[in-house]
């Protein structure tokens, strides 16, 4: 049994806690959140509640720290956990700046601990199948790739998502998933161009259209939205020299439940629900635990996670300057 401390008792912290529990291989030892009520609700009777990670590490027997706090806190918490000799699972995006990403990489180097960023798309079967089909040559050489992701804006604590300075908006918080997946499928990216609402000062609304040129010559177009009234949806299409792959979460839903009355409350973070035997979030946690146990490197390296952040920050910079931004740290 691995003892886990979760930092951040929001939507993703709860999701991860459930997944740790489902694996049967980990025990929730501590929940850290300045919102003690939220922390206590997640901790239940098993785990202890702390306001800071420092207190938790001082008073609790913890093997791994799972950071699900808002993005601006990622780097400090991750470095603190690694320096204390703990394994680290870090929610995406890796951090708010490349300097912070570097600090995490530096802290992980030689620590002998597993450090993994939760790019959960790599555990979503629809995105794994797409990668596998491309690798098997189904579409030939990928040439034009399109992805789309989004729904309504998530409601986090203190509405930190809507503050671009904290969350990086839809580009850094949401379509970073697609950036990582695209790098996984297409290899290193070369430059990025983007337009969006990030710098428009529109409170509570964000939308972005990002074009990425890859070193292979492939072109990718990524749509990210927190302005889709129809709810959360993901799509991708990979057009290549020999064929095409087409995916839509809406078109491949296996269950729709429609009720007359608008009942229930929306979760704080809209998480794509897939009726699978095992949730991709749990598959991800299983992989993390496997890496902790065996010392094998995680499927998503810290360098991968940093490269995805670089694309996102490049896109935000392109929106500011109106010109393409060259990507320099994309070696895969």
């Amino acid at each position: 049994m691995l003892n886990v401390a979760i930092v951040g008792a929001g939507g993703m912290g709860r999701r991860h806690a459930a997944s740790f529990r489902e694996t049967g291989e980990a025990r929730l030892a501590a929940v850290i959140d300045p919102d003690r009520e939220a922390a206590a609700a997640l901790a239940g009777e098993q785990a202890r509640v702390f306001a800071t990670l420092e207190e938790a590490l001082g008073e609790c027997d913890v093997d791994a720290v799972d950071v699900c706090a808002p993005t601006p806190f990622h780097a400090a918490l991750a470095v603190q956990a690694l320096k204390a000799g703990k394994h680290l699972l870090l929610e995406k995006p890796m951090a708010r700046t490349l300097e912070e990403c570097d600090a995490i990489i530096e802290a992980a180097r030689g620590s002998g601990r597993t450090a993994m960023v939760a790019h959960v798309l790599r555990f979503f079967p629809e995105f794994v199948r797409g990668k596998e089909a491309v690798d098997a040559g189904l579409v030939g050489e990928p040439a034009v790739v399109r992805t789309s992701r989004g729904g309504g804006m998530p409601r986090g604590q203190d509405s930190w998502y809507r503050d671009i300075a904290q969350s990086g908006g839809v580009v850094l918080d949401l379509i970073i998933h697609d950036f990582d997946w695209l790098r996984w499928v297409l290899g290193p990216a070369e430059r990025v161009y983007a337009r969006g609402l990030a710098h428009s000062g529109r409170d509570g609304q964000d939308y972005a259209l990002v074009t990425i040129r890859f070193r292979s010559g492939a072109i990718a177009h990524v749509e990210g939205t927190w302005m889709r009234p129809a709810g959360f949806e993901t799509r991708y299409e990979i057009a290549g020299t020999q064929g095409l792959l087409d995916f839509s979460s809406r078109d491949s839903a296996t269950l729709r439940v429609l009720r007359f009355a608008a009942a229930g409350t929306r979760p704080a973070v809209e998480v794509p629900e897939s009726p699978l035997a095992e949730s991709p979030y749990t598959a991800q946690i299983r992989h993390f635990l496997h890496c902790v146990r065996t010392g094998e490197p995680p499927k998503v390296s810290l360098e991968d996670a940093r490269a995805a952040v670089e694309i996102a920050l490049g896109a935000l910079e392109s929106m500011r300057t109106g010109e393409p931004v060259a990507l320099r740290y994309q070696e895969s």
């Binding site: 040439a143 399109r146 529109r202 074009t211």
Partner: protein, 329 residues
Amino acid sequence: MSAVKIGMASFAHMHAGSYASSLRSLPDAVIECIWDTDEERGRQMAEQFGSRYVADLDEFLAADIAGVVVCSENAGHRELAERAARAGKHILCEKPIATTLDDARAMIDAAASAGVHLATAFPCRFSPAMWQLRERVRAGELGDILAIAGTNRGTMPGGWFIELDKSGGGAVIDHTVHVVDLMRWMTGSEVRQVYAEISNRMYGLDFDDCGVLTMEFDNGVFATLDTSWSRPKSYPTWGDVTMEVVGTQGTASLDMFNQKIVGYSDALMRATYHPWGSNIDTGLVSAFLDACRGSFPERLATGHDGLKALEVALAAYESARTGRTVILD
């Protein structure tokens, strides 16, 4: 209403066949004569559409026709349009209006000085879904429009479309103009900035087959457009025209040719889409008949509209050459 006599100038572009079918289906139109540089094709079309083939262009333009439908190779549009204008004929010109801005301007000038109408064939304006979308956007149903993500993807057409001296370019010139026209028409705003990633990765030949444009309009709306010839040969249909329109009060998704039934055939060993939507080409040629009668419908695109759409396509090529955002005047 007396029938309007129309001459078809060239069947080089495959849309000519559809326009001719539409003209035949309309009670108030007659395809009086057909001219083509390819005599065999011209005679065959004349037979198919119950018309007569005329080999000589002067003779064709001297015929008793009110309007000419120009469907030659793109680079040939200018000469045909100028001569038709001088002969006093109204013109419906296939898109892109031309391969250079100079050619497009010369065509517009020729029509103006001859006092004839020059229309650009943008049939997507006649899609009932597009019309509704435009009406509802203009009525403010989506609030202020902020962004549009568009696609006009297709299969690689081959033939003269990939001979650059005749086409003026590959996928980008072929597929930019339709949706740019729709965006201009819907927003009432002009494109002021263009950036494009363009490649020939699909076929690896000397024409572009992949293109993703990013545009900004005068009113601040930003938009992207995928113009790629990215549908494989096994794809169930030729391609698409789509727009995701994002406004402050909601979003609208247009999938213009989604009215389809899906067929599965062991003979073809692939699925095929069978469209059942309204024929937009019929709307287009019907509007052109009105123009030939003297009243130019608001829904019909002008030569100027054709020019503005071409300007964006050419700016996209310039952006891909320079790696920079191109500012339009």
